[in-house]
Subunit: 101 residues, 7 copies
Amino acid sequence: MASKAFKKFLPLFDRVLIQRFEAQSTSKGGIMLPETSKGKVLEGEVLAVGDGMRTNDGKVMPLTVKIGDKVFLPEYGGTKLLLDEKEYYLFREADLLGKFD
Amino acid sequence: MASKAFKKFLPLFDRVLIQRFEAQSTSKGGIMLPETSKGKVLEGEVLAVGDGMRTNDGKVMPLTVKIGDKVFLPEYGGTKLLLDEKEYYLFREADLLGKFD
Amino acid sequence: MASKAFKKFLPLFDRVLIQRFEAQSTSKGGIMLPETSKGKVLEGEVLAVGDGMRTNDGKVMPLTVKIGDKVFLPEYGGTKLLLDEKEYYLFREADLLGKFD
Amino acid sequence: MASKAFKKFLPLFDRVLIQRFEAQSTSKGGIMLPETSKGKVLEGEVLAVGDGMRTNDGKVMPLTVKIGDKVFLPEYGGTKLLLDEKEYYLFREADLLGKFD
Amino acid sequence: MASKAFKKFLPLFDRVLIQRFEAQSTSKGGIMLPETSKGKVLEGEVLAVGDGMRTNDGKVMPLTVKIGDKVFLPEYGGTKLLLDEKEYYLFREADLLGKFD
Amino acid sequence: MASKAFKKFLPLFDRVLIQRFEAQSTSKGGIMLPETSKGKVLEGEVLAVGDGMRTNDGKVMPLTVKIGDKVFLPEYGGTKLLLDEKEYYLFREADLLGKFD
Amino acid sequence: MASKAFKKFLPLFDRVLIQRFEAQSTSKGGIMLPETSKGKVLEGEVLAVGDGMRTNDGKVMPLTVKIGDKVFLPEYGGTKLLLDEKEYYLFREADLLGKFD
């Protein structure tokens, strides 16, 4: 569903490239923050992941989310970036709240 | 008792998905914060838990609370989220105050 | 002396459930903070303790105070909670100042 | 494409010497921050890298980006420096957002 | 010289129970902070010590000051407490400045 | 080129004694910060280095810059000191930006 | 040259007892901070040192400066104390800038 242009982008370390889902007027089984962010879409799909943080003794710690995962995003944080005219978001993995099927 | 919709949601790392108990006018053996939050329900049930934080050398540290545990929640903190029209809360495990039978 | 209702409450990690001693007008051998908190009772009894913090490599570090210990509490900090209409306090063990016989 | 003068400059530790790409009026497949920084060029090429940070036990942790990598830069941060009349930027590797082909 | 009541008090972890020396108008070989705290007695005797902090891997790190040591106290910090009508002070060992004969 | 008086000075731990280069009106291949610090000389030569920081387990971690290295200095930071009427600067090694030939 | 009274004082952990040199109107080969602290004497002699900090696993890390070392002091920091009517200063070793012959 997402543009293939993101394939050019490789997040560094523990960063995750996210495409938010399109806003829907009704949320069938979807997750949404009420009151403060009515209608704000806070779910997305993982498009690319970094190799992982390196531990203090230099080993790489791979991410636990993977491409294709559907994740729930925090309301604040993340870096917005444009790739081929589409908006994407870059989050550190530890800031993602959860994943769901 | 809780909606099964939460089954779709998997918290990441050390996060815990909580459903608060319904507010009751009388607190029989229940725990409640007096004065500052009279009537505010601060107990809940654990609906889903993350896999755990990773230690500095990359091992996963499983959570100590588990699904079904009744927990006592701090007055502040946690992220509210809506799943199938019901309110849930996401806490880091270290912010939970205690569990009880 | 304390209500048995607290038995239902299990503090998590390094938290300690405390019942403050009753306020007394005279302090026979008791410890009290003068001036700033005259008459404020800052001693209590340990009613329940958590399993302990986990170290960076995932081991559990048991608490050093135990149920029945008489402890001296800092003037600020701790979380007040009501159990069967009685007030209790939850402290992290490292915030307790000392114990005494 | 970049001046060879940068060859004289060796970043220390985890620092990376970057040359930003020239600003272009149209972004064909390029990445750009919309709204807040329209037209600001946030992509660059790695011209030189440090040897890496040293871990707590004194080992050197080599960088993961290398000379020639095309990287995406954060909007803020980095140190601007002039080498033979050209502008370069110095970033810590952990502040780079991602690389792309 | 100090009241025996302090024997009832056992500091926790790295805390040290101190009794300040009586204020003297002349300081024969004593240490005193000039200007800012003229006449303020900043020396004391160690009356009780905790078992020590626990290291990250759970071992206890015993204190280096011991009962009877004469110590020099920082001007700020410490917790004042009353034991049988006498004032005592509780310091973390790392806050003590030095000891002297 | 630098005064030999600096030989008397041995920086401690990870500190580095620097002599800034003389200000020049034209910068042939030199590095200079434009706009904010026009003409400010930010290059220097390492005159003396400390033995290095000690790691958490007590080992000494030698510096990577050495006497005679030409380094690029951050615009802020460092401690100015006078030795035989000449100005020198003391930096922590981690604050140096890079070295160059 | 320094009073022998300091022999009574043993700094704790990584602290160092310093006696500043007497202020001199001319600085022959001496180090002095110009402008901001003209004439302020910032050199001193180490009179006593602590046993050293303890590492995370409980080992003692001895100091690298020793009694008799001539050291250069930072302009701010340190604790002034009076011993037999003379002024001394207490610094943490890591705050000392360098030593010189």
